[in-house]
Symmetry: C2
Subunit: 428 residues, 2 copies
């Protein structure tokens, strides 16, 4: 992976070369802290050790019972779904993959009606075994299988912590079970059992994914000028400090749409605390040039734009044409057009003084997605160190969980009472 930060040097907001060099002293200190955390396998920092600690053989072994499923349904939410979906969108396989990562009754019913349940593997993921959405969906899927005469215990894989409901179920019914590793928060778990079970079911090359991650781990160093991951994290931090409160994250390839979503969770949940943080805004190139670019160029100067592309991809030629004004397209290719639009958009942002960062990988494949996932995680951890926030926690979501539980009759919570006290000003 390569990062080009040339277009932040004289943008508004921007970071000068001198500013980056001063910041590099802090990067050195942060890197020391991160290395200590890794050496001690501290909570969160342990995530950056996954390229060394993940056991791909154990993952392959756990899924070996399932022979060539037609469909794989992952039941999990947030970090229990996004990393897996991100990797699967890149490496793929023969099975259709689905994610029950919401509790929308219409979407769930529709999915269950269309699935070949007897040829489907259910992959349930929850560290605690008590995540309300995940367990509700699991109960629903299990019932659908029973109604269809399918033995759910034959078709279920569990990824969970050392104890809890799912672990007990796995023990009772002899389900294959993978361990969520210690010290790895959900949004940092893509390179663990959590993110790799579906690719393993698909027969993907897990070791290539891990090798990509390891390559980026090996490049972490005490200087942002030597590590692409830290260059991205430090530059994003400096731009946020200077007013880039939004990070518009724009991959120029559809296979990385989920990666942008995964990044949005990583960035928002890790760095959004103490009144700080940078808001991720997901977009897709070249499509969103026809949707968001007007705002990025001519709206408030409160954004960093991250443009991401592979250096190589399989291409598709555009036929010759005599259509008026379009002969220049003929004999070219969709890839040429997409690359021209990438470079044109980057230059158009620079011309408007909007700071932008280019990220490139060789290819969007198993190795490439490993590089990207690891590098963005390391970038995020570095940003968190520089901002002095508690990167690996998410305390602000507890309030709503208690309120929801209280509303459903799951206990007495003061938070649930607040719902009834809502101030209303209804225009009907």
């Amino acid at each position: 992976m390569q990062v080009d930060i040339g277009n932040v040097l004289s943008a508004t907001p921007g970071v000068s070369r001198d500013g980056l060099e001063r910041l590099d002293d802090d990067v050195a200190v942060a890197h020391e802290r991160i290395e200590t955390g890794r050496a001690d396998a501290e909570h969160g920092y342990a995530s950056l050790n996954l390229p060394e600690t993940v056991d791909t053989d154990a993952i392959r072994q756990a899924v070996s019972r399932f022979d060539d499923p037609e469909a794989i349904v992952t039941v999990g939410i947030g970090g229990s779904a996004l990393g897996s979906a991100t990797i699967d969108a890149v490496v793929g396989g023969d099975a259709e993959t689905y994610y029950l990562d919401n509790v929308d009754p219409e979407a769930t019913t529709s999915l269950l009606e269309s699935l070949p349940l007897s040829e489907t593997v259910v992959n349930v993921v929850s560290r605690s075994g008590t995540t309300a959405e995940t367990l509700a969906n699991f109960l629903v899927v299990r019932e659908a299988m029973a109604d269809a005469g399918v033995d759910w215990a034959d078709r279920t894989l569990v990824t969970t912590g050392e104890s809890g409901n799912l672990r007990e179920l796995a023990d009772q019914h002899d389900l294959p079970a993978l361990d969520v590793p210690d010290g790895v928060p959900g949004r940092f778990s893509a390179l663990s059992t959590v993110g790799l079970a579906v690719p393993a079911l698909q027969g993907a090359d897990l070791d290539a994914i891990v090798a990509g991650a390891r390559a980026e781990a090996d490049r972490l160093s005490g200087s942002l000028f030597e590590s692409p991951a830290y260059a991205y994290g430090a530059t994003s931090y400096a731009l946020t400090q200077r007013g880039a409160s939004v990070n518009a994250f724009v991959p120029y390839t559809e296979s990385l749409e989920y990666f942008a979503e995964w990044f949005a969770q990583l960035w928002a949940e890790s760095l959004g605390k103490d009144g700080l943080g940078q808001t991720p805004a997901r977009a897709l190139g070249a499509t969103d040039q026809h949707s968001q670019l007007q705002l990025y160029r001519a709206g408030p100067h409160d954004k960093q734009v991250t443009l991401l592309r592979p250096r190589e991809r399989d291409d598709h030629g555009i036929p010759e044409t005599d259509l008026e004004g379009l002969s220049y397209l003929g004999g070219s290719s969709l890839g040429d057009l997409l690359d021209a639009e990438f470079e044109a958009t980057e230059a158009s942002l620079a011309a408007a003084g909007v700071p932008n960062v280019r990220i490139e990988v060789d290819r969007v494949d198993a190795q490439g997605i490993g590089e990207l996932l690891y590098a963005m995680e390391a970038a995020c951890v570095l940003y968190g160190e520089l901002a002095n926030v508690s990167t690996f926690t998410q305390p602000a979501v507890e309030w709503g969980k208690k309120a929801a539980r209280g509303l459903l009759g799951g206990g007495d919570f003061a938070e649930a009472d607040a719902v009834a006290d809502k101030t209303r000003l209804v225009i009907d």
Copy 2:
């Protein structure tokens, strides 16, 4: 459609009841301007007349040649795709629908390989008939059909302006052709031929969609306290002025995911100019509570959160369970859980002082999506009047279009030269 702005009154940033009443004088003036624009069918304002001017019979007639297609591929980008995708995601039909709204060669190849081309309708949409991405994709699809021995002219529907490449093709080959209406920018065209052709192909109830839109049109008035659409537009404007530079738009139903994307284009491209605008951030409830909520609650107070749900939906029960700590879910339903999470999240944002607006529709159906589309368009036009921006133009995207064209050898453009001059600072 109903809007509840109670949770903006004492938030940070917030708008007091007095502030809203002062703003209402400006709303009255803006409403007058909008009504004049509608009466004269001025560019842009004419969009708000679509519930009266759209000819649903003509749309049904144009698609009547195509009998029950297995698949529909819309070739269009930005406003030529998003409105159609938004409506189709709600009203649906028997055909699988796809959107070639990008120029990703890998995604395009993969789609063409999987399509039943002889049973597919191709719906090409471009007002000018020269949109590079759309015409390139159309050439590619046409070639794929020829290679498969399918007569493309038998399977193609065109929606375009009075002249240009697509109009000429339609005339030459006797293709069914729909007119893009005058005075309607792409992002305001969902309720026209552009957005309704696919629902017509699907046999959906176009008149119910239009009736929903008309119901909201009938409620526009000179006061934000009397019109839900204006309440949303005026409140969003006032919050932006006070520091809510981001609008996190969060439907609590998967069938409105495209609607959030459509809204993002409407809001960004219409209002993002002259250094002004509010950045849309798309999210999905309840999923993104596990991704974005930490940031919304505990990050910078630079956001308005828009929470959107239907009052009724088809539900799905959750089986009884003896799993530890989860008995409260049993006998409940996924819809109950989703509603509890909606209300809990809303209250949790209020408790953190984050301004949030609740939008509700009776159901997400043909009528409901008509209401939502029209109301957000009217809200956007009102916001544009209050901010004094040129709502219906998108001048900032021209620079990049010229640069891309120059890079592809489509003429000499100074913008293309700027690409070569890029400042580089590469960390590799």
